[in-house]
Amino acid sequence: MKTIEVKNLSKVYEYYKKQPGLWASVKGLFKREKLFTEAVKGINFSIEEGELVGFLGPNGAGKTTTLKMLSGILYPSSGEATVLGFTPHKRQKEYQKQFALVMGQKNQLWWDLPAMESFILNKEIYEVSDEDFKKNLDELVGLLDIKDILDVQVRKLSLGQRMKCELVAALLHKPKILFLDEPTIGLDVVAQKNIRDFIKKYNQEQKTTIILTSHYMDDIKELCKRVVIIDHGTIIYDGALDDLIKKYAPYKVLNITFNDKGVEKTQVEKYGIIQKYNQYAVSIEVNREEVKKVATAILSSDLPVDDIMIDEVDIDEVIRKIFKK
């Protein structure tokens, strides 16, 4: 059985439109125009145990809505989701004890108390035994290196330290599934990397199934072999990150530097699409199959080549192109 199975899952939100102005507000008291947005439109996917999958998409693409349906906060408008054999929106205790949800923008820790108090509360809520609690806590605290801050009031912690504590709070009951919604949002690069390293290590050691949403490309690049790209509520790509580049960027880039007097634009145009040009450095897009041939042709031509490099297209570039469509 798959850990997570999603079939034709849709979510429609209702909202009301209000024209600007006082008169329209008064009218709105009596009659409002009801509108619908389809945040998620019949998506399908399944996730195996132990996978670390990245959900990628611009703001409002439907990533968080999907996570909320999987964790049982929202019920689907149609279609179904099955997680560990449970239907999430029934919110059975047996299911709730087996997953955790961490939202980067909402904290679950008690603001005015040291994080330790929230940990103990979660221990009671998830009915973790004393031994397991101690063992898991030591392990997590060691991995995240936060021994010193456990007894400091949460509001005095930095955002990065707080996020670490949020993760500990969420993982104390050893969930089988972890939903991470923008866990690195607002963090500086060092803190982002710390969190990322931890997630990676934790996934490898514990075999926890993890779904991660982020709009930081670095998170996805470093953590996820598999990526699901969502835009306007539909999945536009589901597969290996490496294949994504091949699919959406059927070309590589030749970066060539020239010496002597350099080259004229007309001299290199025939080799492919010019991305960047100046006299001494040119970037050319060339189809994957032809890239070797073209490189050889350039090298054996009478152009004053100093150096030539064949580069893979930058993934950020690929994603940007996908979302622009």
Binding site: Y13, E14, Y15, T65, K68, S71, G72, I73, L74, Y75, H89, R91, K93, Q96, K97, F99, L101, M103, K106, N107, Q108, W110, D112, L113, E117, S118, I120, L121, E124, I125, Y126, E127, Q153
Partner: protein, 265 residues
């Protein structure tokens, strides 16, 4: 049950960190009682009896009433719930194997402890200072019954607050509703003045609301204006209301959550 105990102690600790704030609150409350004492003392200079109340009875009503009011108060849980709903903090709660309503009840119990101690200290001082002006009733049966009535009163007021708070599922801004309902319930409980200063029809109407049983009735018991049996009947009505409010909360929670699940509010 252990989890709710931990919530109670967490909230207690949290409030311990803000003890200065609680003392400040009590300071404000002190002025409320002083103004009541002044008004009634001035009024009674021209007469010895108002609608069946002697001066010592009225002073007792004010002083013991002050304690009852703050001992059964839950200090603004409506807004806390509204905030949880509107800011989406509720999402964090409902994904956990825990009941949100019970969570709120536990938090309120943890919160009230320090306030209760502060109020009790001030009340003791007040009773001592005004011991010659008020009626001291030390009948154990009366005090025990009162204690039970106040305990239930605390929960009635809490459940009422929760119920108002849950309106936030449908309304974006509840502070107006909650402000008016709080003044209405305070009025109907007799906390502004004894209900029998009003025409009998008002008293009869107020018997159909839960509030009078949280304040006026226990005080009547203390002042021996009603019998123990009548007091017991009051307790019975209180328990009935408690049950009714509980059912109402379940219902409102059920439909509110449906809306929350649908829209994410």
């Amino acid at each position: 049950m252990k989890k709710y105990w931990k919530i109670i102690t967490n909230e207690f600790q949290r409030h311990l960190a803000y003890r200065a704030n609680i003392v400040s609150y009590s300071f404000g409350h002190l002025f409320e009682i002083i103004s009541q004492i002044v008004i009634w003392t001035v009024i009674f200079q021209g007469t010895s009896m108002i609608k069946g109340y002697t001066y010592p009875e009225m002073m007792t009503y004010v002083i013991i009433g002050w304690f009852i009011l703050f001992a059964t108060s839950n200090y603004g849980f409506e807004e806390r719930i509204a905030k949880d709903i509107h800011q989406g903090t509720l999402s964090n709660m409902i994904v956990k194997p825990m009941s949100y309503v019970r969570y709120i009840i536990a938090v309120s119990m943890g919160r009230v402890v320090i306030a209760l101690i502060t109020v009790a200290v001030i009340e003791t001082v007040l009773i001592f200072l005004l011991r010659n002006k008020i009626i001291i009733n030390l009948d154990p049966a009366t005090l025990l019954l009162m204690l039970f009535m106040l305990l239930v009163a605390f929960f009635i007021k809490l459940l009422f607050s929760i119920l108002i708070g849950l309106i936030a599922f449908w309304i974006i801004e509840i502070s107006g509703t909650y402000f008016s309902l709080n003044i209405f319930s305070k009025f109907m409980s007799g906390a502004y003045f004894p209900m029998n200063l009003l025409p009998a029809v008002f008293v009869n109407i107020s018997l159909f609301f839960p509030f009078i049983y949280t304040f006026f009735i226990p005080l009547q018991l203390y002042l021996k204006k009603i019998t123990l049996i009548e007091g017991l009947r009051g307790l019975g009505v209180e328990l009935l209301w408690l049950f009714l409010l509980y059912l109402l909360i379940k219902l409102v929670w059920h439909f509110g959550l449906k809306k929350y699940e649908a829209a994410g509010v």
